[in-house]
């Protein structure tokens, strides 16, 4: 195997991993703060893909064609509306069950996921939808002959760069601002934080809004890059992103990103050099292997039993 192919597979894996990572952040933050798995998160990502297409079409209808302006506007609008979805999901399906048995919000999450899927299916139709290409072309690195190059499209670059910027902003938000401090306080001990005057319900809403915002970034970027989506894309991608979150250590923000990248890279390397049929088998075996030796994931902290 030559170096070009390896480098190309690394690029493929990094792009895929960035998408997984952006979605994994939503799973990991929600788990960190209220200890539940938000199964509707993958569908929030799917909704973001539809919103992206809707906003793209509206901006084109308004006569805005410059790619950088369109991309920024679409990203911003999609994040806002998707964040509203994230907020509503929490408000409708999870907040009323806050003090219930742990299984209740889990079932509620699965229900929410079905509702979102079928809502989109009924309102937008079940057919595969598509958007025209926004960013054409790309760079050929290290070109030295036929099949001797590494291709990275501008859309793929956009995915990686935006993911890095998004993660950096989120990191700052959690570690450098008052709202982030409140989030961390609620994560450590919800009751104690409430006793000390932190509005826990608001903090939890914020976490859902942030998670949905990151999923919106992923949804928009994927739509820019792959150009087609249907109401079911949240399922496979959601499962993969959830795996990434567990791999990196659920509850850990850098863990989610790391898990995403590792999952993306292992999928493309295995697919590229061994066999595509078994790439998921390999990825999940990796997960099992990691969990045997580090039950709380790569960067997760061991769970301390709260009394």
């Amino acid at each position: 195997m030559d170096g070009y192919i390896l480098a190309q597979q690394l690029v493929n894996g990094l792009v895929l991993g960035s998408v997984y990572g952006l979605i994994a952040v939503g799973y990991t933050m929600v788990y960190g703060i209220i200890g539940m798995i938000n199964f509707a998160h993958g569908d929030v990502y799917m909704i973001a893909a539809y919103l992206t297409a809707i906003f793209l079409a509206s901006l084109t209808a308004l006569g805005i064609h410059s790619p950088p302006v369109v991309i920024l506007l679409v990203l911003a609008l999609t994040m806002i509306v998707t964040a509203l979805y994230g907020w509503s999901v929490e408000r409708i399906a999870y907040r009323p069950l806050r003090s219930a048995n742990r299984l209740a919000p889990l079932i509620s999450a699965i229900g929410m996921s079905l509702i979102l899927q079928n809502y989109v299916r009924l309102s937008q139709g079940a057919r595969t939808q598509g958007t025209p290409t926004l960013l054409d072309g790309g760079l050929r690195l290290f070109e030295s002959g036929p099949e001797q190059f590494v291709q990275i499209s501008y859309a793929q670059m956009l995915i990686v760069v935006t993911a890095v910027i998004g993660m950096a902003l989120l990191w700052y938000l959690i570690h450098g601002t008052a709202i982030g401090r409140a989030c961390r306080a609620v994560q450590q001990d919800r009751i104690m934080a409430a006793l000390l005057g932190v509005d826990t319900d608001r903090v939890i809403s914020t976490v859902f809004v942030l998670g949905a915002g990151m999923a919106a970034v992923a949804g928009s970027l994927v739509t820019f890059n792959y150009g087609s989506f249907d109401f079911f894309i949240g399922f496979v991608t959601g499962i993969k992103a959830f795996t990434a979150a567990v791999l990196g250590g659920i509850g850990s923000l850098p863990g989610a990103m790391l898990g995403g990248v590792i999952l993306g890279l292992s999928e493309s390397i295995f697919s590229g050099f061994v066999n595509t049929d078994y790439k998921d088998v390999f990825a999940f075996s990796l997960l099992v292997g990691v969990l045997i030796f580090r039950p709380s994931g790569l960067l997760g902290r061991p769970e301390v039993e709260k009394v």
């Binding site: 192919i5 057919r127 595969t128 790309g138 989506f229 249907d230 399922f235 595509t276 049929d277």
Partner: protein, 374 residues
């Protein structure tokens, strides 16, 4: 697995929704139309329904079957085998249909046809091409399309003789239809003295096939054969073109819908894509008037629309001729009598396959349409 946990409630919900059915009209014959009316393959489900609906309307307008009107019953399987069996049971036990037009995905048709055969109900698929549909000795199963072992041969001949491909990568979607088609391709390539350079399956529902595309580059494939559906073929061909891979891609009837262009992200990506499909049924003289009717209603009868029409026509002809609704009698009649349909004369062999199949090669053009390759 999480997958099953998510899907079980979906079909339960579908079942509950569909339970509120219409009361049986006196003097009507119920015929089921089953296929992916929802889900990613819903474009094909629509083709089925449009075709069957029009056929029922036309037959009823001419007085039905000995005065009894055809009443169609929808069955939605979303191309999921589990749901297909549930739908089949509902059509048999609850709706008491006399015959079934469907299903679409071979993986759904194969288990569903067992249910119909057990109940002695005639079932005829307009689209499932996997050999197993008719190879299991079930007496009451038919199809109005060709078989993958015929389709694969035509595809392989074209790849090798016309496109002069030497290093062919064979890909599939790990589904009954897709993999069956890929296997048929592989078998005929071997007969032509070629061994594929790659034989791998991708996962249905995913959109990123860049790793696989890079692999195509690394094995220096000069053509790709894909057994699968448009929802995966679209992103696959787009990512090939984006990585600078301009080699031809040949596929089967699973990409026979203009939705393929949408899932590829635009017409400019579909150049160099070929597919096998029956000779365009819209050009058969017998169907000229009908095609006009569809177009007047603002619907282009592409893909399997006319197949579905012809399927219902054949079932109705058998019912008229035998004055019976019994599956065994209908099957016996169909296997011994050719039927005049909107797609010309159709005749079946003892297995329930068409005696003549007419696969030809189509090419996608840069304006997002397809045309027959001469």
């Amino acid at each position: 697995m999480l997958g099953t946990h998510w899907r079980v409630p979906a079909w339960v919900a579908t079942l509950l929704l569909t339970l509120g059915s219409t009361p049986v009209e006196a003097g009507s014959i119920k015929i089921g139309v089953a296929g992916p009316l929802s889900g990613p393959q819903a474009a094909f489900g629509e083709q089925f329904w449009r075709g069957a609906e029009q056929a029922a309307k036309d037959i009823n307008a001419k007085g039905g079957i000995h005065g009894e009107m055809i009443e169609l019953v929808k069955g939605d399987d979303s191309c999921e085998p589990k749901q297909a069996v549930a739908v089949a049971n509902r059509l048999v036990d609850f709706e008491h249909v006399a015959a079934v037009v469907g299903h679409f995905c071979s993986s759904s048709t194969i288990p569903a046809f067992e249910v119909y055969a057990e109940a002695g109900i005639l079932s005829m698929t307009p689209a499932s091409t996997n050999p197993m549909v008719t190879e299991r000795g079930l007496p009451t199963v038919f199809r109005t399309c060709g078989r993958d072992d015929q389709q694969g041969v035509v595809g392989a001949e074209y790849l090798v003789k016309q496109l002069k491909a030497k290093s062919i990568a064979v890909l599939h979607d790990k589904d009954t239809y897709g993999q069956g088609l890929a296997d048929a391709m592989k078998a005929h390539l071997a007969k032509l003295g070629l061994k594929e350079v790659l034989y791998e399956g991708l996962t249905r529902g995913e959109k990123d096939f860049n790793a696989l595309v890079t692999k195509l580059r690394s094995v220096k494939a000069d053509a790709v054969y894909f057994g699968g559906l448009h929802s995966e073929a679209g992103p696959l061909v787009r990512q090939m073109r984006e990585q600078g891979l301009t080699i031809p891609l040949v596929s089967g009837d699973g990409i026979m819908s203009e939705t393929f262009v949408t899932s590829a992200g635009g017409p400019k990506f579909v150049e160099g894509v070929y597919m096998t499909f029956g000779a365009d049924p819209r050009k058969i003289p017998a169907g000229k008037e009908l095609v006009g009717t569809f177009r007047k209603a603002g619907y282009e009868p592409e893909g399997y629309t006319l197949y579905s029409y012809a399927t219902l026509q054949s079932i109705a002809s058998a019912m008229s001729a035998t004055k019976s609704l019994e599956g065994a009698k209908l099957a016996e009649w169909l296997k011994s009598h050719p039927v005049e349909t909107v797609m010309g004369t159709k005749a079946w062999n003892a297995k329930g396959d068409l005696k003549v199949s007419d696969y030809v090669i189509y090419r996608w053009t840069p304006d997002g349409k397809y045309e027959e390759v001469q």
